[in-house]
Structure formats: C-alpha cells, structure tokens
Amino acid sequence: MFEFAHSAMETAKARGASYADARIVEIRQRDLSTKNGEVGTCAESESLGIGVRVIATGAWGFASTDRLTREGVQACAAQAVAVARASALAKKRNVALAQEPPHQDTWQNPFVKDPFRISAERQLEVLLAADREMRAVKGVTLAEAAMTFRRIEQFFASSEGSRIYQVKVQSGAGICATSFRGAEIQKRSYPNSFGGQHTLEGYELVESLDLAGNARRVGEEAVSLHRAAPCPEGTRDIILMGDQLGLQIHESIGHPIELDRVLGMEANFAGMSFLTLDSLKKLRYGSEIVNVVADARLAHGPAVGTFGYDDEGVPAQCTPIITAGLFTGYLSSRETAGAIGERRSNGAMRAESWNRLPIIRMTNVSLLPGDWKLDNLIADCDDALLMKTNRSWSIDDRRYHFQFTAEIAWEIKRGKRGRMIKNPSYSGITTEFWNSCDAICGRDDWQLWGTPNCGKGQPMQSMPTGHGAAPARFRNVRVGVAFSG
C-alpha cells in the first residue's frame, strides 16, 4: 500500500506540489441490532481508498478515490494539485505548516478478542437475551439493543519522509427500553444513551457490560419514570453522573478549544468559539478544582480518541486544557499551531475515512478525577438533583449557552438520595457553569466514555471522541426550563 502512497506523492511533486501526504485507509465495520425480539440490522461493510492532500501554489488541495491502481492513484494526486491551484484563485497568503520531524512507525491498539472472529449469531444472541429481559417488564413498549465493531487500518506517508502504519479496533454496544403511556414517552439506556459505550477495545468490552444483567433494571426504570415527580423549575445544586458529564465536557469544553473554530474556519457550519486568542492563559474557565486534558495517548486509556499518530503524522500527545481552572490550551494542527505561538501541532487532526480531509477533532478531552467519594458527595448535599444519562443536548454556535436533558434524576434531600425525578433538565453559560463546580469524585468513579458520532466539517464528518469523567457537583444551576412550557 505504501507504494501507492509514494506514487501519489511523486505525481503531486512532479506537478508542482511543495508538500503532499497520502492516507490509504481500509475500514471494516459490522452493525447488529435487535428490536422487540427481532433482528433489526445485520450488516457488514468494507471500504478502501486513498486521500491525497497537497499544498501547491501556496494553497491546499485534496482529492480521493477508491481506484487503487497506479493510474487511479496518479490521477487522484494530479486532481489534488489542480484543486490546490484553483484554491489559489482566492488566497490571501501561503499556507505554512509547523515543523514536524518525519516518523516511521507502526502502532496498534491492544485488544483481547477480535470482534470479527466472533460469529454474528453469537453476538445477536447477546442482544436478543437483553431484549427479552427488557420486554419482560410490563409497560416496556419498545426494546432495542445494538452492537457495532470497526477495524481501521491506515497507511500514512508524507513528502517529508513520514511512513506510519496504524490499526485500530473499536467496539460499541448498548440497550434502550422505551415506555409509552398516556401522553408520555420515557426511556432508559445502558450503559449510555445513543448507542451505548464505545471504546478502543475488542469484544471484551461487550462481555464486560453484561447487557442482559442490566436489562431488567433499565426496563423497570423506564416504566417507573411515568410515576415520578417532574423536575422542579428553579435553581438547584446538581450532581452529574459520568455518562452525562462526558457529553457536557464534549460540548462546552471539547468544541470551544478547537483552534479551527476559534480562527473562524468553521464559521459557516459548526460555528465559532468564545475562546478568542486573547483568553489563553488568562480566562478563568472553571473553579480551581477543574483540570482538563486532551490526551490521545494510550496511557490515558483505551478510548475512541486514542491513537498513535494523528492524520497529519503527528504523535499522540497530552495537552493541558484547563489547569486549576485556568484556560491553558487549544487543540491544534500543523497549519494553526503558529496562531497561538506554538512551534509544533499538538496532534488533533483526524479524518473520518480516506475520502475526507483531516480537520481538528477532539481526541480524549477528559476531566481529571478529584478526591470525593460519591457516597460522601451525596451526603454533603442538602437539596440537590443527581442526573444520569443524556437525553438531549444543545449549545449555541459560539458555545456560550447550553441546555441538556437527562433520562433520569433523583432528588437528594439532607444528604439522602430520595425519589426519582422525570424530565430533568439544566442550562447555563459555559464558564459560569464550570466555575460553579465544587466537587469531583475520584479515580474509583472515573470512567472513559465514548461519543461515537461527533459531527463537524463540510462535507460532514462523523468522528468518535473520548471523555473521561467522574460524578461532579455544580452549585446553583438553573434546572427545569426545558419542560417549563
């Protein structure tokens, strides 16, 4: 495969490119799902192709093809150069890249059980067993379960001499019980909503989840929500469990720190960011106990934002994003690093597949653990709501104002977890919210969550991102607005 990559780069250079890189990517995916006792989706796919990125006449061009022949690859590279020359028709200045030494390396995430070597029949049995348990609960009107597995093999080569081979195996699974009664639809998911948990692991992830063992509780909670008290409207202290907090981190920290947003490159679609360049190392993003990193290294854990090298060939790194509450870092690329005075990219460029251009994406943006135990934190609350599992999420295009709803909440009164609350919601302004954080649970309650489908870019790219989180408390948060009708 590297021969095709080199052929592409030679063509690009012969046509005048000052820089070229090529990624040959092969993705194999299996999707299985069940619904109310029947198989829903049962499908596999494979996709192989090359994407060639060049700088010519000082401007970017990118072309991709699935015609992996010498002629097809050379035509693709020639097209990339032609596209770059067209880009120069509306150019203000030449593209400049931060320095990066060439790397020759091989990287693969560790996993125990190859999910593609386990039969779909056996995997469907696991889903159908969980399905049966959910439907055994009276009042469950819809039981859904799903698994997805991906193997991503990538060959990267650049005109600067990099030559990197990476293989990633990713697994995901989850269940959801829905209950319709009267004029209300309620649902509960496990281990997370919108597809469950996703990690850079093999089938051992699915085995660790015990979907069937949790299915009856999930069904019972979905039905019980109909009888629960509605979320009050007003101001409350809230504890967000890790599954909900992961998405809160994603939306209100992960996206604002993307330097392409900050520089206006996503203004037409995904939006911009309130984190203007003058806020770096000056803005008090959160309270002093808030420490956030963007860490793509395997040492951070087997999360879906973990890799050996990003799609520009920059090694995985750990970047301090918020340090004792102070905003300390963006996610950057080789093109944008100079805008913040950095001499090197911190390695956040990723592409969905061979036919997409790498853009700045979250890696694993994680809130580091604190020192509380969850039981002690609950005992420390006088009047609070504990919210779990995301149900909806929305934030403005500069990432100031957000609103989230959760699937379920419990009231905490005088240090005791009490009655179930339905339709919980909370909203706020990003920096005010993170500055209200006064307690974060410790390593025992900390977990890496996978968001499998973060959308960004034009054409749209979907990318999995990782988020480490432990339950945390936020003071005086506005709750209940979403259902205030």
Partner: protein, 472 residues
C-alpha cells in the same frame, strides 16, 4: 453567475462528475455478476457511485478544497426468511465473491424473520429529470472564481465571508433476482455563506452575522452573489444586537427556519414509528392536532424535490397526503409494515434489513400567499428568524424541540425590522407551533443544516416560546 456557468459548461469538457460515474450498463453488469455468484433464495444488489467536490472558504480565503470519487456495491441475500447485507467498494471478482459470501454468512447465522417478504419484481417509475450537465461539468476553477467574487464583495463591505460551494453527481441502481431494476442519476449544486460583521477571526466573539443557503440540481438555478448580498445585509443590520427578555413572541420564520423545525416531524409519519409507540402520532392519527392551514405531503416527484423516485427496496415512491388541513390522515408504509398493519405499501421503505422500516423523505408543506415582507408589515411586535441551530428533541410525544436562533435574529416593531437582537434558546412544541400559524408564504425549496431539504413556506407563528438568551 448564470452566465458564467454557461460559459464554463460550453468551454470545457466535463472533468468532475460525468467521467467518474458508473453507467447503468456497468451497474447492470455488476448486478448480474453478483447474481451468478450468489446461491441465495433471493439476492438484491445496490450499486452507488458518487463524485463530489466542495470548495470551502473562511476569513475571505479558500482554506479547504476537496474532491472525491467512489462507488459501493451492496448485496442483500435471503435464505429461508433470513436476510443480511454486506457492502464493499471494490469491484474486482474476488471482492465481489467475498461480499456475497459475507452477506450469506450473516444471513444464515440468525433467527428467522417472520415479517420478511419475498423481494418485489419489475416495477415502473415516474420520470424525473434531475441530472444537469452544467452542474456535472463544474470545475474547481469555476467554483473558485465564484468564491473569489463573493469574498471580494465581502471585503468591500468590511465583512468576513465563510461558506461552501459544492457540486457533484451520483448514480444509484437497485436490482434484484426477481427482475427488478431501478436506476437514478442526479446532480446537485449548493452554495452557503455566512457573513460576519465586527467578527475579526479570533478577535471578537460577540460580532454579528448573516446567513444564506440554497441548493438545486442545476447549478444555473443558484445565485451565489445574491445569497452573499442577502447574508451581508443581515450581518450589517444585526450589529450591536439588543438583548430582549425571553418569553412568548410572535415569530416570522424564513423558509430555512421552518424547514429545520418541521423537518423533525418526518419520522413520526413512519408506520413503524407508530407501531413502535415512539411517534408523536401515537393515538393521534385522524385527530385534529395542527391548524386548519397546515397540509403536508410526501411527494418525490414534486418539481422542487430531489432524490430517487424509488425506495430502498426499489418500489416506486407514491405521493401521500400526510396532513390534511390540520389532521394527520396517512402514514407511509414499507411492504413489510403494510402487510403487518393491513395497509397498502407507499414506496417509502429504507434499505433492508432495518428496524426503522420506512420514512417520508420528500416532504412538501403547503404554502400560502403572504410574502415575508407582508408578514413583517402586519406584525406589531415580533421576531424575524433567519435560521435555527442545534435542534434536539426534548419531549418526543409533545414534540418539544430545543435549539438556538443564529445568524440573523431581528426585532420587528410596528411593521418594520428595527434591529438585531441577541440569540435566544427556544423550547417549543411543534404541535403547538403548527396550531398557531397565522400566515404562510409560498412553498419554496429550502436548505438548512438540521433537516434534509424540503419544500416549505415562510410562516408567521404566534406565542413561540423563547426560554433563555445567550451573550451574542
């Protein structure tokens, strides 16, 4: 713009689209090859080829510029009431053999599906013309020249432009071993622009902005400079926005705003969604839940629509009246759902196997005779919305949606636009909103970012619920 595109089409041979698409004959040959390789009871083949290019600009310069070509071959096999799908983008014989084997292996290793029907046979389809050489022939230089004019006009107004100009073509074929063969070819051009005022990149996160977007199968139907001019006017008009108190307001939704809200209803009209009890139409079909002035169709052959005239099984898409003067009358049905519910299939199936069943993909919301200007003139106090953003479903049964306003939100007083205002968060029931429509504009092909394109009107709605306000 139109003149320039005509010159481009006449002056160059097609280099972007047509040369890369598979022809019907190629697709038929691949399908027949698959049929020979398969020993399944029944076999379905879907062949898709695509060539797309997108020029992206920001900060008044082109910063990303991409082109792609690709094809995929998707095989669905059926063995004794069991079915599965495998897909590849490789067309050599070994890969075709493997994709058939993968589909076979998956299909055989699962429980029997009692709802699976035999594949349909040969069908007839309405003719639609949605492929235009002028679009297929557009080059990167054609798009770049247009973008250069747009960013020059932005700079001339002291504004900053960001957006996209894309062109592309696709060919899609479904064939099955029962003799069905359906083919569809389409081109698509799209231009979208955000103009920013007082928002020097990375310098000011509180500046104002305006937005416009359009797409069409024929590139000559787009006028990027006019769209950029409209976005620029909105950015200028919304400088130094005022902050209003959240609450209930009369709103005027431009078509893109209507689209991105009403688009969230589409799956509720799937018979499978109602059968699964997850639709807002549970127990509501036949009951009046919207205003008398709301009628909604699904119509794949509407002249302003795009998309194939057949569904995921190759069945012809039928025109279906979903809402008649405020009353949901009909749902859409795949063949399997129709049989379970003793209804007639409407040609809206998703590709099998799928737990989602079917969906209307070509919604047309009937319009009225009021222009946006007339809606403004008739408004004592209200808010004009260009677009809405990051919309999510809060309550699936009452169809409460949350989201933000964006890129052009204005206060209307005494029949005129007074000033820009800071963007609001809304939490609004669609059922309530479509019961409060006071005026409708002519239905137009609209493009947003949250829903697929539909034909919808601008509308004036009373008592729209804004719950909070943001900082810009």
């Amino acid at each position: 713009m139109a003149k320039q595109q005509k010159r481009s089409a006449a002056g160059r041979k097609p280099v972007v689209a047509a040369a890369y698409l598979l022809a019907d004959a190629d697709c038929r040959r691949i399908a027949e090859q698959i049929f020979k390789l398969s020993d399944a009871d029944e076999t379905e083949v879907r062949v898709d080829s695509v060539t797309d290019a997108l020029t992206r600009f920001a900060n008044n310069t082109i910063h990303q510029n991409v082109a792609e070509q690709g094809a995929s071959i998707s095989v669905r096999t059926v063995f004794d009431g069991r079915t599965a799908r495998a897909t590849t983008n490789k067309t050599d014989e070994e890969s075709l053999r493997r994709v058939v084997a993968t589909s076979t292996e998956l299909a055989r290793r699962q429980p029997k599906n009692r709802n699976l029907l035999p594949m349909p046979g040969r069908q007839k389809y309405p003719a639609v013309r949605r492929y235009f050489e002028a679009t297929a022939a557009a080059t990167p230089a054609d798009r770049a020249r247009v973008v250069a004019r747009v960013v020059k006009s932005a700079a001339g107004r002291g504004q900053t432009a960001a957006g996209i100009f894309s062109t592309g073509a696709m060919e899609s074929v479904i064939a099955n071993s029962q003799g069905l063969f359906a083919a569809y070819r389409q081109t698509r051009a799209e231009f979208s622009v955000t103009m920013m005022q007082d928002t020097a990149a990375a310098g000011n996160s509180l500046g104002s902005s305006g937005w416009a977007k359009a797409n069409a199968p024929d590139i000559r139907a787009l006028d990027p400079l006019a769209l950029a001019g409209s976005a620029g006017q909105k950015a200028a008009l919304s400088r130094a926005p005022r902050e209003l108190t959240p609450g209930r307001y009369t709103v005027i939704l431009e078509p893109a705003a209507t689209l991105d809200l009403v688009g969230f209803l589409f799956y509720d009209f799937a018979a499978t969604a109602v059968m699964d009890r997850r639709s807002c139409l549970n127990n509501r079909v036949g009951k009046k839940i919207f205003g008398e002035n709301i009628s909604l169709w699904d119509d794949a052959t509407h002249p302003l629509q795009l998309g194939a005239p057949f569904d995921g099984e190759g069945m012809p898409r039928q025109k279906v009246l979903l809402v008649d003067r405020g009353v949901p009358r009909n749902l859409v049905y795949s063949r399997a759902t129709a049989r379970r519910l003793r209804k007639r299939a409407t040609g809206h199936a998703l590709a099998l196997p799928s737990e989602w069943g079917e969906a209307p993909m070509n919604l047309v919301l009937e319009g009225g005779g009021s222009s946006v200007e007339q809606m403004i003139q008739s408004t004592e106090r209200g808010i004009l919305l260009t677009r809405v953003w990051y919309i999510r479903e809060v309550d699936p049964y009452e169809k409460v949606l949350t989201g933000m306003t964006r890129d052009g939100t204005f206060l209307v007083e005494d029949g005129r636009v007074v000033c820009g205002i800071r963007n609001f968060r809304f939490n609004q029931s669609l059922l309530e909103m479509l019961s409060n429509v006071e005026q409708l504009g002519p239905a137009a092909r609209a493009a947003g970012e949250e829903a697929f394109e539909m034909v919808v009107p601008a509308m004036k709605v009373r008592n729209f619920h804004f719950t909070e306000v943001t900082k810009f």
